[in-house]
């Protein structure tokens, strides 16, 4: 039975080094520990200068995404046991600029998320006195899968297209756009389609499919994008064949 496991953590301290370097830490192995527990152990007892993001410890907040042995993972959901006997490499999410150690810069994603208008758009709001917009379980089922996204950005780290073309809107933002498009209370399809059928939108995706593989919530962004492509193509043909239609 292992008593210790080595973590090779990528450190980047911009005031000290121009290139990141690996630093090894030996942490006690515990069967019920996840990578995040090991990082917290390092921070608490070995090296207080290590920087990383985390919050909920239960796969909901989406802030502890990192590369573990080269694959994007939520570190609160990756057990040390899986990586025995080690060493385990922990690196910041790829495809994003690194601010410090394991902390990446995410404002690019935030801006893209905002661009797809991820809220319910109504052509005309009904008065408050008419009550709420009702929805059947089946109507909820249409988009529920896409509403599970926790914005952890693992899909962006897994997407080589985003790595090569940073202007690509990216998997999560498109899946979240679909979440609202498929919601029967929403009327913003046209508005979102305009944004997403641009050069940096859905057609940039070449269906590598890794986004859906790494997604910790089984959102399947790759599926959302491909289905969106079908809709966009159908809309284009419709506007070509019936230019008088809306």
């Amino acid at each position: 039975m292992a008593t210790n496991i080595t973590l090779e953590v990528l450190r980047y301290r911009p005031e000290e080094e121009s290139e990141p370097v690996y630093q090894s830490y030996e942490v006690p192995y515990q069967k019920d520990w996840v990578i995040l527990d090991a990082l917290n152990y390092i921070k608490d007892t070995l090296d207080g200068t290590l920087s990383y993001r985390w919050s909920c410890r239960m796969g909901v907040c989406g802030s502890c995404g990192m590369m573990v042995n080269g694959a994007p993972e939520l570190t609160c959901a990756s057990f040390l046991e899986k990586y025995l006997p080690g060493p385990v490499r922990v690196e910041p999410l790829v495809n994003f600029p690194v601010i410090r150690d394991l902390v990446i810069e995410m404002s690019d994603f935030m801006e893209k998320l905002k661009r797809v208008s991820p809220w319910i758009i109504r052509e005309q709001e009904k008065p408050l006195s008419d009550g709420e917009y009702l929805q059947t379980p089946a109507e909820l089922g249409d988009y529920e899968q896409f509403s599970m996204c926790i914005n952890c950005m693992l899909c962006y780290a897994a997407c080589p297209v985003y790595g090569l073309e940073p202007t690509f809107v990216g998997p999560a933002a498109i899946a979240i756009a679909q979440r609202y498009n498929l919601d029967n209370r929403d009327q913003g399809n046209k508005q979102r389609l305009e944004v997403l059928s641009e050069d940096n939108g859905i057609f940039e995706c070449t269906l590598v499919g890794e986004c859906s593989v790494v997604c910790p919530k089984d959102v399947d962004p790759a599926g959302a994008i491909q289905r969106y492509k079908v809709v966009a193509a159908a809309t284009w043909w419709k506007s070509l064949l019936m230019p008088w239609g809306r």
Binding site: P14, P97, E105, D108, G163, T167, G223, V230
Partner: protein
């Protein structure tokens, strides 16, 4: 979004790693993806062979016979063998991805992914058999 995605004003110290040209060699799923994309060359190869065959057919008997002779050369047979393998890979990988793009509904139930795949394969086998039958009997 910033104008140049590789630079952000006032933040010269953010560390940015560029993707290496051979990013796809380290992982099988990435290599498989590149391989799948490259198989389109085989599709183009078959299309060109067909176009040249039609051109030879429109010229004269001798041109067509010499084109058929060209197809029988070992180089051509090896090339066709390779192209055929790539085409099979192309077809199978794309058919297996078809359910990603299609979310069909029958009444309230969603058609299962396996059924969408199966329909593609059945159509493929049917059309191939039809073409084989036409070629072998006529």
């Amino acid at each position: 979004m910033t104008q140049n995605p590789n630079y952000t004003k006032y933040h010269p110290k953010w560390y940015r790693k560029r993707m290496p040209i051979f990013w796809w060699v380290h992982k099988w799923t990435h290599a498989k993806f590149i391989l799948r994309e490259l198989t389109c060359l085989s599709v183009a190869f078959y299309a060109l062979v067909l176009l040249f065959q039609i051109r030879a057919l429109t010229q004269n008997q001798q041109a067509y016979t010499s084109f058929l002779e060209l197809l029988k050369t070992p180089v051509s047979i090896v090339l066709h063998g390779i192209a055929f393998l790539f085409l099979l890979f192309h077809t199978v990988t794309w058919f297996n991805l078809a359910p990603k793009a299609l979310a069909l509904r029958l009444g309230k139930k969603r058609v299962p992914d396996q059924a969408i795949k199966a329909l593609n394969y059945i159509a493929w086998i049917f059309l191939s058999s039809l073409i084989a039958w036409i070629m072998l009997t006529i």
